[in-house]
Amino acid sequence: MLYRENGQFKTSYAADQQIFAIAQDRWAILAIIVFALVGVPLLVDEYLFRAILIPFLILSLAALGVNILVGYCGQITLGAGAFMAVGAYAAYNFHIRIDGLPLLVSFLLGGCTAAAVGIVFGIPSLRVRGLYLAVATLAAQFFTDWVFLRVPWFTNNASSGSVSVANLQILSWRIETPVDKYLLCLTILVVFALLAKNMTRCAIGRQWMAIRDMDVAAEVIGIRPLFAKLSAFAVSSFFVGTAGALWGFVHLASWEPAAFSVDRSFQLLFMVIIGGLGSIMGSFFGAAFIVILPIALNQFLPAIGSVFGVSISTAGVSHAELIIFGALIIFFLIKEPHGIARMWSTGKEKLRLWPFPH
């Protein structure tokens, strides 16, 4: 009834090509962004910021990056954690070795380094596909693990191999409170998400999708696989690397290679699969599902138990969390193999017809 584009006429190409063609969508997204920037900092307590919102924003950014590579270009990667690590350690080294380098520049340089490493590890994609490529990218994971554990230069000769940063500052803005950190992550995420959305809508995004759908056909119509695949690797790794820098600097403040283990790579891959391959929105859904659900289960299970007079042990909760989480993943994959994003768009279709479905 309310959600309907009747009467919204497009009179120019620009209007026809805008990201959110329906006015209601446009306003809703704007309202969400404004609420996230202004409303959330006023309403939310510190725990939600530090434990849920900040990790959610950072991992959404990483999931966006993975989605560009896996969802849009069809190159399966298991090296996302590695690129996060490269981003984090590169940003760390730029940050401490070049005095007075602005923080954002360190992040972006971290992202660029990750992009360069991504291109190197993307080269096998020119020859191998599918599961074989996944195994090849796994090499990136083990390689970076090894490098950051073994080469003391990267960790500034820290005796324990753990690095830490403090006193983050952008111009005169000192990033100390969780609200500051949240706003920093949110701003970066909004800019990057817009970038990603537009990239997927322009020529380069179409090249990626052509490669994903059928690379031989794409080559026949004049798309260079070398450029398309490696650019996807570069852009994806740039996103993931920046997310890694944020994860290290903003979320953890002190980290070791285990923070970017192969588990992280799997987690990111699951995010895009559950959220929706080839969908910007899906990256957010996937990140929300994987970041928030386990913590929510972990907190609410004992409470639900106590409602029924059962006290569940800590170990019991943690096992139950894994069981329920696993079951939900299977449920979602059976119910909607195209991810939560597809559910969302089906829901929107239904909403357009409501309350008078055919």
């Binding site: 434990a51 990790p55 753990s162 006193n167 002190s254 285990a258 800590t314 170990a315 309350p355």
Partner: protein, 444 residues
Amino acid sequence: MKLQQLIRMASAALALFSSLTAPPVLAQAKEQFFPVLVYRTGAYATNGQQWANGYLDYLKLINAKGGINGVRISFEECETAYATDRGVECYERLKGKGGGATVFQPLSTGITFALTEKVPVDRIPLITAGYGRSESQNGAVFTWNFPLLGTYWVGADVAIQHIAKKEGGIAKLKGKKIALVYHDSPYGKEPIPILQELGKTHGFDVQLLPVAHPGVEQKATWLQIRQQKPDYVLLWGWGVMNSTALREAQSTGYPRDRMIGIWWAGAEPDVKDVAEGAKGYSALTLQHGAEPGSKVVKEILDLVYAKGQGTGPKDEVGQVLYMRGLISAMLGVEGVRKAQERYGKGKVMTGEQVRWGLENLNLDQKALDAMGFAGVMRPVQTSCLDHMGSSWVRVHTWNGSKWEFSSDWYQADEKVIRPMVMLASGKYADEKKIKPRTPEECRK
């Protein structure tokens, strides 16, 4: 239309949700809240569990005895599974609960590193008894960290002292080969700088053999040991890595009496399954060993387990890691007690006040005897600048069925450790732009 049904369901869900999220009861004025970070699942669960049981049982014992000068202890567990990000989440979850957390003890060096950056902001002390950052002993820089009873540098130094004693003098170490088989994480890497330093001074060779998490795959490591035949092997493992190392040592024929573990590699779960195969293997102790006969354990059995409130299985009470958890809890509780002496007996202490208590901890023999810790540990005295309080260690050896003390007390060499602590903490202070506290500021 199903709309009505949907609304009904949604409102029911909302009601449930709000009942769950609402803070339980706010009137907990007289309770000191102890957050308990544990891992009862994951790769290191067998070891983490015992520690957690000891920790909780001691808190329950204090409550059974009427609390800390009448202030009862409330506590809540949070499962970290030894993962840093989950540990940080648990920290954030628990730090504000129950009127504010008293003290955090994460039992993971990785989580300690992450929390070290966070506790100064939230003003909550962080006790890391027997683990954590070695340089955090320097209380002038690490205001909120308390590596009470010993750090890995203490452990490494004593391990070398023990080897020297076995060899018949420190001069005999010259030309020896000592291998360090370590968990490839901040935990395992902590002893490396001091071992290299000692190696340089005494002329022995240090071989570094990392083992990847969780440590079940060590074939290659022990092949190297077989080839290079080090004179001694130091084992810096945790959880399943320890028993695997002992099994591998058995199958490669490396003599177990030439293996020395850190105090995290010297508990019952590490050797129980290997039993006879681990005979002769020694490990350092964080002062205490398995103490089933001590007075405090008897009290726990009488006042907690007899009433059916015990946290874990009764037969594990008094085992090595159980005692470690128990002592860790005791140190936290004593910090609160000490703080109450200054800020008011029978009051709930804030994190900042507890820090003062921990900084001025003075548990002499009389106090230990009174608490039932006679023979379990030695006196501890901390100060504003020394957050460790004691660096005494003894060694125990597995005889095939139980741990038995096999050495006298060693004290870590201050002359070796102090300069390294000052150097490393100075570097940290520079990086973080921390101004170290002066003795004058300490007196406040």
